[in-house]
Assembly symmetry: none
DNA sequence: TCATAATTGTACTAATTGTATCATTGTCAC
DNA sequence: GTGACAATGATACAATTAGTACAATTATGA
């Protein structure tokens, strides 16, 4: 399912900024599994109209969620839920997830005619230029 | 062989514009030798239908490839892979293709919280169970 | 041969979507 | 009251994809 209704309840008198409420509720729905990876969120304008707020407010919420890697916004395309970073999944699921991702990569590289050696070398090179701890939490 | 099937994998949510994905993959297949000089690519409309995108999106990709002298588009005739570019260029394209593909993979794995060691290990494992011969299967 | 249709890429425009910048409003400390 | 700051809104912009009309080439058939 790519497109979700995304039912949000905005309380205009709660004192909480609207964009914060949007952030919180989207976050909650992702956490609860109501929103799943690759689900497409409403456009900033559509959601804004539904909530009767300015679309910049929605955009602001989306930007915060994007920076938090919860969603991925793409100009001209739309906004999508990213894959859940596995914090609490089992080790087995974690492994399977990496396995699937890697298999897609290797298959694709093979399809493009690259050899084992080339692939191994390139992965090695890319990993070299990457500071392990820096999960880019800046 | 004049006409190729041109199997492309478009990921509509990868963040990369569709036309960019087409460019990258054609480029990679040319570099890898999977597509050879004088091979005819699908028409913009045919490829567009297959990929379920607008034909202008394919046309845009073709135009970029044309400007890069990788393909030659001829109004009313079709689109063809150009003569062999200098080996220097092919080698560069080849490397760039794999580099881009690998970077996407590593970035994604990193984003999901996997460590360098885990990634390296998984790639190594996947490569092990793969018989090298599959280089140019047709 | 010539006329005409079909095929193929091109050009221009429109629609959809998110982004950037600045203005307005409202609240709170002083 | 005044100034500072945060939240929201208004406006213009940029990126991507789609729609429509057209031009060049090739195929077809009288």
């Amino acid at each position: 399912m790519t497109n979700k209704k995304l039912t949000l309840q905005i309380d205009f008198r709660s004192g909480l900024p609207i964009y914060t409420q949007i952030v919180n509720q989207v976050q909650a729905q992702v956490a609860s599994g109501k929103l799943k990876p690759d689900d497409q969120l409403p456009t900033v304008r559509a959601l804004a109209e539904e909530l009767r707020v300015n679309f910049n407010t929605v955009a602001r919420a989306y930007r915060i969620l994007d920076e938090a890697r919860i969603i991925s916004t793409q100009q001209g395309r739309g906004t999508f839920i990213t894959e859940i970073p596995p914090p609490k999944v089992t080790e087995r699921l974690r492994r399977e997830s990496l396995e699937a991702l890697t298999q897609r990569y290797v298959d694709e590289a093979a399809r493009l005619g690259f050899s084992k050696g080339e692939i191994r070398q390139m992965v090695s090179d890319q990993l070299k230029g990457w500071n392990e701890s820096g999960k880019s939490e800046e």
